[in-house]
């Protein structure tokens, strides 16, 4: 039955034990899971191809569970980033804060198509990936607020969060790309059939070290998926003003490339699966361009409206929001109910709120930690403080 059957009943007061004698109205959704479509196939946009005969499939299958999981992931990232925005405006987060809202389908789609044992590295707009790679909301927000419960104990901040098989979080534009190629080299060297997803933006796409990396990755057939998250603006500079060629999927020249709708999580997933198969089969690297959009400015200090119009931002929000698109797909195919999504939203809101609570109440790192972790696996050493009498201690 398509319509929800809801059964309301008022609990009779006199039948309840004394302590429970409060009026309550219980709404029970009596639809069982058997009423939902367990799986559906969706048409996805065709990818533009460079040096490839065939590309990713034009249809994507989605199970109910997958859909709810992708929704949850993207909504969590969305709410976490909006919470970070709030905390930044309250001056509880300082320094750089580059938010990812709008681009959630990229992180969610990529994670859905690779293994936890694969590797991933990105630039400074990293909170989404930090989450998809396994770090809790709590540890991310506490790192942003510079507390000892942060994933890097407050030592790193927004751009320097790490996890197993996740190499940050890198502040120098483009520097992460050779690093990613090196991680791929390690995968090849160790013969473990793992690969490295190496992300960069449309701004970084013009860095020389990228082309050095492309050359070596192709020469040595490194299992590296180079992914350009093209959100149309490198800080305040539009792609047309920065690049002689804005076909970022072609910039690998001799490396095959795919241009992907980065607002559609299924498109991202299928394209990344395709790319992963390419790498794992020993064909070498591949370039993917994800066409995406960020709602916020470059960072919290950029209102984001001096180089683009509010109308443009609003149009993307209404027509291409990745979370809305997935939700509508699932609803119109009867894969889930409105209430279910609401429940998920409520749960996520609660989790983010709790994480923010932690992030604002956890203490800052102790001063004793100031000089620690300079080296790894090293005997303790003395570190000079601000003056000659200040002799500080560093342990690994």
């Amino acid at each position: 039955m398509r319509n929800a059957i809801t059964v309301c009943f008022r609990l009779k007061i006199d039948t309840l034990p004394k302590k429970n004698q409060t009026l309550s109205l219980k709404v029970v959704v009596s639809r069982s899971f058997a009423d939902f479509t367990p799986q559906a196939t969706f048409d996805i946009k065709k990818c533009d191809l460079h040096r490839l005969e065939e590309g990713p499939p034009l249809k994507a299958e989605l199970t109910r569970d997958q859909g709810l999981q992708y929704y949850r992931t993207m909504q969590t990232v969305r709410r976490m980033e909006l919470k970070a925005d709030q905390l930044y405006k309250q001056k509880i987060i300082r320094g750089f804060c580059h938010l990812y809202d709008g681009q959630e389908a990229c992180a969610a789609g990529i994670e859905a198509s690779i293994n936890p044992t694969d590797h991933l590295i990105t630039a400074y707009r990293a909170h989404g990936y930090t989450y998809t790679r396994g770090v809790s909301i709590k540890e991310i927000l506490a790192e942003l607020t510079g507390r000892k419960g942060g994933v890097a104990k407050g030592k790193g901040g927004s751009m320097h969060m790490y996890a197993p098989h996740f190499y940050g979080g890198n502040g120098i534009v483009g520097a992460q790309v050779p690093l990613g190629a090196g991680i791929a080299l390690a995968c090849q060297y160790q013969g473990n059939n793992q690969l490295c997803v190496t992300l960069y933006g449309d701004g970084a796409a013009n860095q020389g070290q990228l082309f050095e990396s492309f050359n070596m990755a192709a020469l040595w057939k490194l299992p590296c998926i180079f992914i350009c998250e093209n959100n149309k603006y490198g800080m305040g500079t539009s792609v047309e003003r920065a690049s002689a060629s804005i076909d970022y999927y072609k910039r690998g020249d001799f490396i095959p490339g795919i241009r992907v709708d980065g607002m559609d999580v299924l498109c991202v997933r299928e394209a990344t699966k395709f790319a992963a198969d390419h790498c794992r089969s020993g064909k070498g690297p591949i370039v993917m361009e994800l066409q995406t959009y960020r709602y916020h400015g470059h960072s919290m200090s950029d209102p984001g409206v001096s180089y683009r119009t509010r109308e443009e931002i609003q149009e993307v929000r209404t027509k291409s929001d990745p979370i809305s698109m997935l939700k509508e797909r699932m609803l119109s195919n009867n894969m889930a109910s409105v209430e279910e999504f609401k429940e998920i939203d409520v749960d996520i809101r609660k989790q983010v709120e709790e994480a923010a609570q932690f992030a604002t109440s956890d203490p800052e790192p102790p001063l004793e930690d100031l000089c620690n972790h300079i080296f790894y696996n090293n005997p303790p050493l003395e570190v000079r403080g601000t003056n000659p009498w200040s002799k500080l201690k560093s342990v690994s």
Binding site: G156, A163, I172, L179, Q209, S213, I374, F375, N377
Partner: protein, 347 residues
């Protein structure tokens, strides 16, 4: 008698033999031994494989270990240094060769921002066990762009260890320690020393011979003045000390071996004995190794033992010229050290 000669011969055979090994061969041995010991160790850089190394330091390694472990790179310092750092992050132990450290400037962001700072930024979650090695400082006739000493630049940065060997034992023992260290090490060699043979004790010839990073060595004991140096100029100091000894001035010569962390305690202990200090380096004077030693001595317990200010002997504060006569006068000569010692001692 024949029996006595036989007995003598046998006795002499039991005495440990010091062997003469060039710095180049010592470095080669170190890498060979570490490549054999740990399969995660590999070497990459320009011409390191099939060419046997631009300066032949990696001679024979590609033949022995093959393409997987000895990797020729294109001329892409920033790219291959970054690749090396990434490989280190993902569990390997790369040796990244810069043909000279002058070219490391192309890649210096990867050395500092990706390698040196990462352990700290990640609060110990992400180690970077990498060695950056290659010739540093002046060579002969290679002019300004190929002659800079980078000891001060790299030693400025927390998160790096900076090592500067002088002789073959230093080269082998320190390179092995650097490769075994779980942190980024900048290993500054000297092209002019590659071909120089030094005696290497039997102990130093063993596969387990390492020299600890961060400890200086007193190469020559003395009582009148302390000379502190690193790399090639240790030899100059010893030569100067030999000349000065004939005039009754006994120099204590300290070989720093490591620039960062600097073994200030050894310098202080020596200064407290001799009361005079001269630093000798090939690099430029401003903000250099000698400048740092002066500052540290002033801040520490040895200051009160100085009978005169510390003297720095350095390269001349100019880009390196080409003509031989000019080049010779751009770097400390033995006579400059002797002159400075006498001025410091006021004799």
């Amino acid at each position: 008698s024949p029996l006595f000669h036989k007995f003598l011969k046998e006795a002499l055979n039991k005495v440990p033999k010091d062997k003469c090994v060039t710095v180049r061969d010592a470095l080669n041995q170190a890498m060979d031994e570490e490549l054999e010991r740990d399969e995660r160790v590999f070497l990459l850089g320009e011409e390191v494989a099939q060419y046997d190394g631009a300066y032949k330091v990696s001679r024979g390694l590609w033949k022995k270990y093959g393409d997987k472990r000895i990797i020729d790179t294109p001329i892409s310092e920033m790219g291959f240094a970054g690749i090396a750092v990434g490989a280190a992050m993902a569990g390997l132990r790369p040796i990244c060769e810069f043909m000279t450290f002058n070219f490391s400037m192309q890649a210096i962001d990867q050395v500092i921002n990706s390698a040196a700072k990462t352990c700290y930024m990640s609060a110990g979650l992400q180690a970077v066990p990498i060695v950056f090695r290659g010739p540093n400082g002046a060579s002969a006739g290679v002019a300004a762009q190929h002659s800079q000493c980078f000891a001060a630049w790299y030693a400025h940065c927390p998160g790096l260890k900076v090592v500067s060997p002088w002789n073959s034992e230093d080269a082998k023992g320190l390179l092995k320690s650097s490769i075994r260290d779980d942190n980024p090490v900048v290993f500054l060699e000297n092209e002019l020393l590659y071909g120089v043979p030094f005696e290497m004790s039997e102990e130093a010839q063993s596969k387990d011979f390492t020299i600890p990073i961060g400890k200086a060595k007193v190469e020559r004991a003395g009582s009148h003045i302390t000379l502190v140096s690193h790399s090639r100029y240790v030899g100059h100091c010893l030569d100067a000390a030999a000349v000065l000894a004939k005039e009754g001035i006994e120099c204590e010569v300290i070989n720093l071996r490591t620039i960062r962390p600097m073994d200030v305690e050894s310098i202080e202990a020596s200064v407290m004995k001799t009361n005079h200090l001269v630093t000798v380096e090939g690099g430029w004077p401003q903000f250099g190794v000698g400048a740092e030693i002066c500052a540290r001595i002033m801040e520490g317990s040895a200051f009160n033992y100085l009978d005169s200010p510390v003297t720095r002997v350095t390269g001349v504060d100019i880009p390196m010229p080409y003509a031989k006569i000019l080049e010779d006068h751009s770097l400390p000569q033995i006579k400059d050290i002797i002159f400075s010692v006498k001025k410091t001692l006021n004799v």
